[in-house]
Symmetry: C2
Subunit: 379 residues, 2 copies
């Protein structure tokens, strides 16, 4: 079975090298840019791949929705297996792509779409087969972890660390997808879909941004003996699934508290296996390229029976409740667990509140205080 | 393909339940004890399993060398796949069992033999396929981690925590295999064998016991801003493999520093994927039973092509050097990085020393001071 790679950017070129170094030859690479080093492997015409009967697996590393979606659909319909590192594509077309794969007797794999080099989704699928998973959660975005770790470990300011992250290539010029949570939301949605055999859409995920975190928040949280991370959650309750993204106040001895720099750590909670956590590089040419290459290897070796079925799910973020930390200059009324006023700011710990109710409260506070910061408290 | 389980103790009964709860029926269970709840599934005669053509996979959870070895060899020769949770068996007969599996066109899997419920060996095999792994290391024993965590977090004494671990069923009446390192040595040997496509034997692993650790050591290490864990290592150098077990002084922000209670965390370092770490319950009925059941599922589903080849390896523990912490009442001469004398004890930090040279030095100190404690320093 021959391999094609779509897109010779960071991830595609990383996967190409990993496959080549381990004896797997890539027959075609699709890219509209010039790559003389690829010789006649390179094509700018997708039909060269689609019509090549020898090519049995297509690894998509273009990113974004189009033309990735068109190419992936055509590949599946042509009976080719598909591997993708594209979380946007997978999240948006989860049901369509899985249905097409099933109808055409092929598989779709996307381990590298969540957690970069970490074989998280692969292991989650394997766990679900023999366990009842009740919760997934994790640090799924390296950029925001890099920012928080630097603020916490070195007392630096948000803006300064964000600029460094941009200079290092960790963060985009427009960092919103990272710091406002869309990137984590997609990863939490995909993880929850697999964990709970369902389809969670991007718009089902309730998000608190982390862009307003300040040194005052870090100092307050440190004084509690706690630390702060930005995390995605998927939780199965009796009647529904909750899926949300929040800054999280964690105990200082939590495993996540020692996830430093731009590393990721993602966990599942199974009825029989208990907690399993997976740690590694959540992005980067070689780690993500490795994860893409591993999915290709599974298919080439015939180890690809792990599939996922799915049912309709009710998503209801009102069914999970937790305490929250809120820091705002606005005046807050309510029956809180604790509230202190310092330097013109209120620092509040709420009683347990449903995710939906808290997220609505923060939206209403934002009107008065656009700089409000809030984090869930993980006991 | 039907399933048989050998041994209905903690792990075997856990795997039985996990398989049953996920739609996989076990046709036969071998145990010499009475288990009325099993009805006619139970047999005390291995031939009932060996001669049953429907049984294609045998899950061994007896433990120890005999009769497990005899049964596993017969099963492989009869063309049955074998899954085992038995680190002693796998470590002792690694080459024979793999050779027999290959000769008979079947597979041998033993994910649950190292790290309990953690899919460590499974992922290590998968990583090796597409990466060059240079190092494996980890907290591979829950009992010793429980002891160290309690000593560090609550200032308790070794003997008191050991007694609690025994009462909780974490530690054996004779705790030597845990605290003197044999358990970790076998797990490090098996992990290194897979990581480096070779065969590392138990006797190749150089071991420092952790049984002499005292409150004075913990206090000294804490004052350095560090923490202490008991870990196994496998390291590939240019010319050979090093494999050893030591107490390890770690930075306070190391991921291992927040591995608490009886949890395990095991890591690999790959050229392309970087560091990957796997965390979970390293023992217990349901976690280990789950891992055993997962290996069975892979085989039943046909997802079992991941195999391992191996070559002869030179094991040489003189090729890895690191700094060491030594605490002893004996007088020590040498050119150390630092040495202080306090309460009749020397607290020494050595310059980088080869593992073999340090382990020899500790043996010679032990003659004068049987209570000497030593730990490698992981920067």
């Amino acid at each position: 079975m021959k391999i094609a790679i779509l897109g010779f950017g960071v991830v595609g070129s990383g996967a190409f090298e990993v496959l080549k170094n381990h004896g797997l030859t890539v027959k075609k690479v699709l890219d509209i840019r010039s790559h003389p080093e690829l010789g006649n492997i390179l094509t700018s015409n997708f039909d060269d791949i689609l019509n090549d009967k020898e090519i049995g697996v297509v690894a998509e590393a273009i990113g974004g929705l189009e033309p990735a979606h068109t190419f992936v659909v055509k590949a599946l319909k042509a009976g080719k297996h598909v591997v993708s590192s594209n979380k946007h594509l997978i999240c948006q077309y989860y049901e369509e792509l899985h249905t097409l794969a099933r109808e055409n007797g092929v598989t779709i794999r996307f381990t590298s779409a969540v957690g970069g080099g970490i074989p998280w989704l692969y292991n989650l699928k394997r766990a679900v087969r023999c366990d009842d998973v009740s919760k997934v959660m994790g640090i799924m975005n390296g950029t925001t972890n890099f920012i928080l770790d630097n603020m916490i470990s070195y007392g630096r300011d948000f803006d300064e660390v964000l600029k460094e992250a941009q200079a290092l290539g960790y963060a985009e010029a427009n960092p919103s997808a990272d710091i406002d949570g869309l990137d984590v939301a997609r990863k939490a949605a995909i993880s929850s879909s697999i964990a709970f055999n369902t389809i969670i859409k991007e718009e089902n995920v309730s998000i608190l941004s982390m862009r307003n975190v300040t040194k005052a928040d870090i100092d307050f949280i440190k004084a509690m003996g706690k630390t702060l991370r930005y995390m995605g959650f998927g939780i199965k309750t009796k009647d529904a699934i909750s899926c949300f993204v929040e800054p999280v106040v964690l105990p200082g001895d939590a495993l996540e508290a020692n996830v430093n720099k731009n590393f990721n750590l993602i966990s599942l909670f199974g009825k029989s296996v208990g907690r399993l956590s997976f740690y590694g590089q959540g992005a980067g040419k070689y780690p993500t390229g490795n994860a893409l290459a591993q999915d290709v290897c599974d298919i080439v070796n015939g180890d690809y029976k792990l599939c996922c079925d799915f049912n309709e799910a009710l998503v209801d973020n009102s069914l999970v409740a937790r305490k929250y930390y809120i820091r705002t200059s606005a005046s807050l009324d309510g029956d809180f667990e604790s509230a202190i006023r310092k330097d013109g700011m209120s620092f509040v710990i709420t009683k347990p509140m449903a995710v939906t109710r808290l997220h609505s409260l923060i939206k209403s506070i934002t009107v008065k205080d656009p700089a409000v910061f809030c984090a869930g408290i993980e006991e």
